[in-house]
């Protein structure tokens, strides 16, 4: 079933907001000026951050993959208290379902966009880029593109659900 991306983004708008906020926060932490932030809008792209091109290649990579880190952590944290009542105990209340919705929505927007991948690509293909940055950068670009391709097959949703269910179950498996 094909569902337009913009509709999915609308349904999962908290994830889009956190995604853009993550870009913004990483810009702040890397001391990169930000000129405009659109946290959510009803057109493509549904959100974006306009910032200065970082002089440091690592900063460029970090700003691009920031949402992957932040959305994954925040999504897991929010879903954490609700995952067991919803997915295991079947005794969930409305609050638990709200948290799962937020957690999954946020985690499923963890994947950087192809725009983020292009930003990294532009930086690392430069002949002055060090070998170490290239070694890290190229696989990241490849993975982002794969993730983008996978989102066509609901990989982002699966990732979101995986984070929401997987983290608590992993902790239990380790502690039991």
């Amino acid at each position: 079933m094909f569902i337009p991306g913009i509709l999915i983004s609308l349904l999962t708008f908290p994830g889009v907001i956190v995604h853009e906020l993550a870009h913004q926060l990483f810009c702040r932490w890397c001391k990169v000026p930000v000129f405009k932030v659109v946290y959510f809008q009803f057109e493509n792209p549904v959100g974006y951050v306009l910032h200065e091109v970082p002089a440091n290649k690592w900063h460029s990579i970090m700003i691009s993959i920031g949402p992957f880190i932040i959305n994954t952590l925040v999504g897991a944290l929010i879903a954490f208290p609700a995952a067991l009542p919803v997915f295991k105990f079947n005794n969930a209340g409305p609050l638990d379902y709200l948290l799962i919705y937020l957690g999954v929505s946020i985690a499923m927007h963890a994947f950087p966009s192809t725009g983020d991948a292009n930003a990294i690509w532009e930086h690392i293909k430069d002949k002055n880029t060090s070998l170490v940055v290239k070694i890290f950068g190229y696989p990241i670009v490849g993975l982002i593109y794969l993730g983008s391709l996978g989102s066509f097959f609901w990989l982002d949703l699966l990732y979101g659900i995986g984070i929401a269910i997987g983290v608590p179950n992993l902790i239990i498996a380790l502690l039991a």
Partner: protein
Amino acid sequence: MEQDNPAPEEKILPQTGCANCGHPIVEQGHPTQLCADCRAKFIHYPIPGGIKIFAGVIGVVLIFAMFKVPGNFSAGIHYQRGKEAIKKSNYNTAEKELSKVIKKIPGFVSAKEYLAIASFHNQDMESFVKMVGELQGQKVEDESLYNEINGLIAKVPNYVPGDSLMAFYTKYHSFDSIPEGVYREYLSTHQDELFPALRYASVIFNNKQYRACDSLLDRILEKDPAYPEALYMKTSIKRELDQLDSAHYYCDRILSLNKESTYGMASKARTYLKQKKDAEGLQWALKSNEPDPAEPYSMATLALAYHLNNQPGERDKLLEASKKDSTQGAFMQYVIDIMDGKEKFR
């Protein structure tokens, strides 16, 4: 589904001053010409109040939800341990762990399913019947679990007395008081009922008709090879018949079905003691007494093991403790009779 961010945009502005305020002094080494103040301002590009409120609301909801986390995780851990214990046939551990889960989350269907299985294998029929009752009308999603529970339910009539046998129970006040002749007559017309056959086996065991009892137990085990009480009695019969290897065989069968069977371990201890392997006997007796020190059969077995290992102090402590518990009576009396020479153990 796609969400796109434009590539970072480089702002190259023609003027020489700050691109934002026109200040003549700009910070060098950056693609965008900005003065120090404007650069600092753009680095700290403000997060709108609406976004902060949005984050705050999520934070408050999260704080409320966090109060449930310790209880839920504790239940999740006990559930996992219970499931693992069932996989390893450690039904005693499984029942303890899953009971804790049900106490915390009374509506947790899967935990009830597993608890029903553990209770059945521990011969805790009260808990089994209670769990099965609570599962009525609930959807069991795991088909193999569903089949397993149904298989156990089908076995229940073998483990509890039917109405017609209960009539004799009421008349004679206990199953052991029902005369042998009454049992024989009853069994001739109720040949498929295992429970009365087992009660009859118990009566003839008490009357020291060991060979007849052994044959009757064989017939019961032919129909249900995993019948725990029949296997328990088999170990005792084999010891009485001095077939000690066979006694070990039945103990091992019990322990293969339920690795934490205190009866299986205690019976193994008694078999070793009968073989005069007193150190092994004490070891097994201690092991059987570990899960529940007040369990009458294992407590009496440990007292016997201490007695035969010349540890009168430890033995007497158990004898003293048993006086406080009326359920210990018959089992501990057997040990006292052995000590007094009234009963020959080996």
